[in-house]
Symmetry: none
Subunit: 232 residues, 2 copies
DNA sequence: ATCTTCTTTTAACATTTTATTAACGATGCC
DNA sequence: GGCATCGTTAATAAAATGTTAAAAGAAGAT
C-alpha cells in the first residue's frame, strides 16, 4: 500500500533529509518548496499526511493548514508542523492551528519517523460497525466475516473490501476504474483486469453457480453490479 | 462501543479543533457554547467525559462541575477543565471541585488526546467487568490472573493487557496500529511488528496448539481477532 | 549504588499467502 | 466473421506474517 506524504519546506537540505528518512521508512514523498500548487496537487494525489514548515515563502504554513482543513477532500488528512525551536514553537503549541502534531527542528530521524507513524496510526479509520445483508449473503464489517447461506466463507482482505463495496452500493454499476479507486490501496500500477480476477474469486466463494452468477452481474462494456436475486 | 464526549466551550474555533482531534481519536463529540442544556442533555446521552472551559458564559464551569457531581446519574462521569494559562488558582479550585484533570491552554493535540484517554482509563477500569470468560479462557482483570483450561498461566503486564483487550472485544478485528494505541503505554517508538511477537507469546501460553490457534486468529492484511472456538 | 533477572523491542530470516499479470479461450455484438 | 470485451487459469512477484534469538531497557534484590 503506497503512502504518499507531502513535504512543504523551502530549505532544500532539510527537505531532502526528511524525504530520505521517510522513504527509508517506506513512504513515497513529494517536496514542495512553496505553497503554490500544494492544495490542487493534494486533491489529485490524496497524500496521507502533510509535513509543513511554518515559514514557507509565498504564504505561511498555518494559512495552508487552515485551507486544508476547509477542503472537504482533505479535511481528514493529518498535518504535522515543522518548526524552529523557541518562540515559534510556542505559537505552534497553541490550539489555534489545527495541526495534529508538531516537530521542532532540529529533530532526530528516528523521532521524525516515529511521529509520522504515530499520527497516521491515530488517524487510521476505525473499522465500520455495520452488518450488510443482501439476499443470502451477510457481511460483518466489524469481525470481517462473510456468511453465505449460513456458512462462513473465508476471504482475503481485498476480496472482502471489494465485496463490501459492491454490496454496500447494491444495484449500482461500477466501472473497473471506479472499483480500483474505491477498493485498491494504490491504483497507479494496477491493471483493470485485476478486477476481473477478483470478481471471479468472489463468484467462486459467493455464488452457488459461479458461471451463472446471481449476485455479481457483469454489465458488458461498463463494469459490474451487485444485486439481490429477485427470487429472494 | 461509542464514546461520547461533551465539550463545553464558547470559543468556536477552539471547540471545533478540540472536536476535530477527539473525533480523529475515535470519539463522538457534542459541543455546547453555553451551560444551558448541558445537564439535561447529559442525562439522556450519557457522555463518558466532560471537557469544560472554566470561563463559559451563562454561569461558570466550576458551577457546572458541581452540579454534575451532585447528579446521581452523572456523578461518576469524569470532568476535565480547560483553563487559560497562568490561572493557577483555577487549577486548585478545579481539582478541589471534583475535576479529574485540567488542561491549560495552549495545549497540543497530542496532549489533549492523551489526557482524555488517561482519565478514561482511570475511570473505566473499576467499572468494567472484572472477569472475562471466553471458551476455556478466564481473565480476572482485578487479580490479573489468566486461567486456561483450569490452569493458571503467568503473563507479563503487556501480554495481559493485550489478551484482555482482545478478549474484551472478542469477534472484532483490530489492526496492529489500533492494538498499539489501545494496549501499549507509549506507542511512539514501537514498531508494529512488536504486536506479532506478543501474539506469538500469547498463543504459546493460551493455545493448545500455537501453530493452529483457535482463539487468536490472524486476519491477513488487516490484523488480529480474538474469537471463541465454535466447538466450545 | 551494582548486579541480576525479567521484560520489551528489534532485526533477521523463513514461510506462507496474496496480488498481479499475461496468455489464451469464450462470448457477445455489429 | 471479425472485433472488442470478458472469463479463466496458472505462474511469478510481492507482501504479510511466523519465528527465533539477541540486544536494549526496566524492575527488583542485595
Amino acid at each position: 500500500m503506497e503512502q504518499r506524504i507531502f513535504i512543504v519546506e523551502d530549505d532544500v537540505d532539510i527537505a531532502r533529509l526528511v524525504r530520505h528518512h521517510l522513504e527509508a521508512a517506506g513512504f513515497v514523498t513529494r517536496i514542495f518548496s512553496r505553497i503554490a500548487g500544494v492544495l490542487s496537487d493534494a486533491q489529485k494525489e490524496q497524500p496521507v499526511l502533510f509535513l509543513l514548515d511554518i515559514m514557507v515563502p509565498g504564504g505561511d504554513g498555518m494559512e495552508l493548514c487552515r485551507q486544508i482543513r476547509q477542503s472537504s477532500a482533505l479535511a481528514a488528512t493529518p498535518v504535522i508542523f515543522l518548526t524552529a525551536k523557541g518562540a515559534e514553537a510556542d505559537r505552534i503549541n497553541g490550539l489555534e492551528l489545527g495541526a495534529d502534531d508538531y516537530i521542532t527542528k532540529p529533530f532526530s530521524p528516528r523521532e521524525l519517523v516515529a511521529r509520522v507513524k504515530a499520527v497516521l496510526r491515530r488517524f487510521e479509520k476505525p473499522l465500520d460497525k455495520t452488518k450488510i445483508t443482501a439476499g443470502a449473503i451477510e457481511i460483518d464489517t466489524n469481525a470481517m466475516v462473510v456468511t453465505v447461506r449460513g456458512e462462513a466463507i473465508i476471504t482475503t482482505a481485498t476480496e472482502f473490501r471489494l465485496l463490501e463495496h459492491l454490496a454496500r452500493h447494491q444495484g449500482k454499476v461500477f466501472t473497473r476504474g471506479h472499483l480500483l479507486d474505491a477498493v485498491w490501496r494504490d491504483t497507479h500500477f494496477v491493471s483493470e483486469r485485476s478486477v476481473d480476477v477478483y470478481v471471479r474469486k468472489l463468484r467462486e466463494k459467493v455464488e452457488s453457480e459461479p458461471e451463472m452468477p446471481l449476485y455479481i452481474k457483469t454489465v458488458r462494456g461498463v463494469g459490474y453490479r451487485f444485486e439481490v436475486p429477485k427470487s429472494l
